[in-house]
Each structure stands twice: as C-alpha cells, then as structure tokens.
C-alpha cells in the first residue's frame, strides 16, 4: 500500500503543512557529513574550514543549516548555481571575518556506514573530526572552485568520488511538483 500521497493536488504551501508526520521512516545504512576545504595563495594544501565559524546556525542534531541546504539540493538542477553562490559567500565571509584571501574552495562529503564500530560503539556524540577516517567511510568532492576576485570559477562542478551511494532516505524529499496519482 503506497501512502504519503494525497489524492488531490494542493498548493505548495498547503502541502508543506500536510507533510509533517512522516519522519524517520527508513533504516539508515549511511549518514552523510559535509565540510568545506579552502586553500590560500599558491599553497596547494587544502585545509578544512570550521563551518560553525562561518555559518553557525544549527538545523537539527549536529547538522548545520548550510549542510541541510547542500543535502536538499543534492542531485538537483539548481545545485550547481547554489554551490557556486555558496562558495562565493564563504569566500566573502572568510575575508570579512578573518581577512583570509582564499584562492580555492571545495565542498566535500563523507558517508559513514552505520553498524560499524565508529558509529554503533562511539565514544560520544556525533563529531565532525576527520583526523582518522574509518576504512568504511566514503569521501567524495561535490564541487571545486577557484576563487578569483571573489568570483567562484568552476574547476569541478559535479560530484567526484565513490559513486552510487544514495543520500539517506530520511533526508530525501519527494518532488511535489507533479500532482499525486499521475505517472
């Protein structure tokens, strides 16, 4: 029996109100984690940016609001324009806050497998530390940009890394643009 779809088409604002209760419905085989790396000058070394210094607003759990934006736009046509905007915004914020002139930025994602010792026998709460990554973790680069005078120039626009790992269903949203019941 397929549930979660109304038999009529609703305006988007009303549909958002209806789709309230169906949370945490699926088993999670992976949990995703996002972070940003930058480089300065001609230095080719990438170093991680603590996004809690740049865009600290939390969304839920230990996930930041910016991470939700990356997760929700993953695989969408507008993802490319959003990530470019995000890269330019981060470059501006780093310059305003710390006087950093960055020349490169990349957005990376890690997929942590559940039922591995790091996740089902953890030391404490969810942590962002990536000093030692378990072998089961899959890392991919979502996008890479060169930053020139505050403008992000695409070096790599599409995800690169281990393919075929789906976003956990808990964070997937159904595309409500088609009326329910239509093929």
């Amino acid at each position: 029996m397929k549930l979660g779809r109304l038999p009529v088409s609703l305006p988007r604002r009303l549909l958002q109100q209806y789709n309230t209760a169906a949370l945490f419905t699926h088993r999670c085989s992976v949990w995703s984690d996002w972070w940003v790396e930058v480089k300065q000058g001609k230095d080719a070394v990438w170093r991680g940016v603590d996004m809690r210094e740049v865009a600290p607003m939390p969304e839920a759990g230990y996930r930041l609001r910016v991470e939700r934006m990356l997760a929700d736009t993953l695989g969408k046509k507008t993802a490319l324009s959003f990530r470019k905007r995000l890269a330019e915004w981060i470059a501006r914020r780093l310059k305003q806050k710390d006087g950093m002139e960055i020349t490169g930025l990349r957005i990376r994602r890690a997929l942590w497998r559940t039922n591995t010792p790091e996740l089902n026998f953890p030391r404490g709460h969810w942590e962002r530390g990536l000093d030692t990554l378990p072998a089961t973790t899959q890392i991919s680069t979502l996008a890479e940009y060169a930053i020139v005078n505050g403008t992000a120039i695409v070096v790599q626009a599409r995800p690169k890394g281990p393919a075929g790992t789906p976003q956990p269903k808990i964070f997937r949203r159904e595309n409500t643009s088609k009326p329910a019941g239509k093929a």
């Binding site: 109100q17 309230t20 736009t73």
Partner: protein
C-alpha cells in the same frame, strides 16, 4: 411497571452525548493550560533560532532562492528583514505571546502570533520543520475558533469544544500518520535495527552514545516495536479514558527518550508534551492544583515554625 429501554433510545442517547462532547461548551481550563504551554514552547523555539538571527532572517546569511526552493518542493521564501525589522518581529512575537498567555486582547494576540509563526516558517524553509508547521496549524485553529465565555454561575471560562477536539485530533493524527508511514511506507516492519541505525547518526548525543555502548542490540528492537505500536494505537489509547494513563506514560517517556538521545529535538518533544495538557480534564487540573496548594501550605508552615 418498569419498561426496558428501547435500543433506538439508547443509540440516540449515545449519539447525542457524542455530538455534545464534540461541540458543546466545555470548561476552558485545559485549553488555557495548553495555550500557555504551547506558546511557551513557541517562545523557546523562536528564541533559540533567534540566537542566529543574522543568518536566519537577514541578507547576511545565505538563503536558497525561489527557483532552488521550488525544485525541492518549497514555496517561494518570504522577504528577509533588516536589523530594525528583526527587532520589530521580536517585539511583535513577545507582545502577542504575552497577550495570549495572560488572556488579554486574545483575538489580537492570536492574530499577531499566527502571522509571526507563518512568517518565521516561510522566511527560511531550511530552518523550518514539523515544529513550524504545528505552530502555524494550532494558532490558525485557535484564531478561527470562537472566544471564551464566562459561566454566569461560577465565573469559570468556557469554550466551544470544537477547537479542543480538533487540536486533540491533530495529536492523534500525527501519531497515527507517523506510525502508518513507518509501517507501510518505511522499513520499520522489514528490519529490526531501524531505530538502532537512526540513533547512530547526526542527532547522536552523549547519552545516545552511552546507550549504544551499553544496551544490548535486542533492546533497540523492543524500543522500535514499542514506538511503532504506540503510534499506531494512539487513537485507542488517547480516546478511551481508562487507557489514557498508559498513553501518558508511554508518550511522555517516548518523547523524553527522543529529547535525550537526539540533539535539539527537545523542542519537538516539548511541543508534543503540550498537546497532552488537553487530555487532562478540568476537574483533574483543579484537584492537582488543590493538592499543590495544600502541599505548599504545609511546607511553608513547617518552615515558618522551624525558622
């Protein structure tokens, strides 16, 4: 000679009593308690989000535009604010909440808080969640409902039962929809470790980590089944008066575990708990109040005698 009551008469009587319980005027004390607690939970949530007001409500933060939101199924965002606009919003929220809590200019307060709830949801969909939807829905129901009346005999507040029943039904429908989605759309009937895997992720608190290290794996399957059965049987547990204590024990415990194991979901749990206030009758509130007052008098008398 005693006549046996006709079946049609008792069926009609049951129907009349059912309709009466749904629409008649009732003691408004449970609704008042709910209004105060629900508004307090709204203030907590908005206050928490307001710690990051620059990123949340102004151009300083990064926001998805209308095209990006449309592609992921959201309506266009409402306009962002300047710093003075944020102050105005905060004042409007505080004044509306105060009016509602103190039952002063109630209709105006409801309109104000409904508009604020609608705005804080629509201005930034990425920080909105089920919490926001329930704020909008509940304040909308209360705004459209008749106001309070005074009982001419005892001066108590009365309210039409309809909004109370609708909000009670909202809680029950939430649980039932959630359980149904888990069972029929989700994996909860197919896998025994769904809850186990959910607790391992980005919501994991230190307490959840301790539970993962300490509790046996089968206990997570038990918790998974208790959760699913509670949600699917919520209509029976909440509607049958003798079963309601079971609903309270399991429901409050269920949301307490969510709050302890999943970071920031205390706001969701607090909001859900406020709905339970509607399932306590006015007489039970008054008995509880009398018990608390009597206990306080005994304690203060004891302290005065021994000071």
């Amino acid at each position: 000679m005693n006549e046996t009551p006709r079946p049609e008469a008792s069926a009609a009587s049951v129907f009349r009593r059912t309709v009466s319980s749904l629409v008649a005027g009732i003691d408004a004390l449970p609704l008042r308690v709910f209004e105060v607690c629900f508004t307090a939970s709204y203030l907590l949530r908005v206050g928490w989000l307001g710690l990051w007001w620059r990123e949340w409500l102004t151009e300083e933060g990064i926001h998805l535009n209308a095209a990006e939101l449309a592609e992921i199924g959201y309506a266009p965002p409402l306009p962002l604010l300047t710093a003075p606009g944020v102050v105005l919003l905060a004042v409007m929220i505080c004044l509306s909440a105060a009016g509602l809590i103190l039952n002063k200019a109630r209709r105006l307060a409801l309109l104000g808080i409904f508009v604020c709830a609608l705005y804080t949801q629509g201005v930034d969909w990425m920080s909105a969640s089920s919490l926001s939807k329930l704020h909008v829905a509940v304040y909308g129901i209360l705004l459209m409902s008749p106001g309070y009346l005074r009982d001419p005999v005892n001066g108590r507040l009365l309210i039409c039962a309809v909004p109370v029943r609708v909000i009670q039904a909202t809680l029950i429908c939430q649980y039932l929809a959630s359980g149904t989605a888990k069972a029929f759309k989700g994996d909860w009937l197919k896998h025994s470790d769904v809850l186990y895997t959910l607790v391992q992720g980005v919501f994991r608190t230190d307490f959840a980590a301790w539970c993962l290290r300490t509790l046996p794996v089968w206990s997570w399957t038990v918790m998974q089944w208790v959760t699913l059965l509670f949600e699917l049987e919520a209509p029976v547990l909440f509607c049958v008066k003798n079963l309601r204590p079971i609903a309270f024990v399991i429901g409050i415990g269920f949301h307490l575990m969510i709050a302890l194991m999943m970071k920031d979901l205390i706001f969701f749990s607090a909001q859900m708990w406020t709905f339970y206030a509607l399932f306590i009758t006015a007489e039970e509130y008054r008995r509880l109040g009398a018990w608390v007052v009597a206990g306080w008098r005994r304690i203060s008398g004891f302290m005065i005698r021994h000071s």
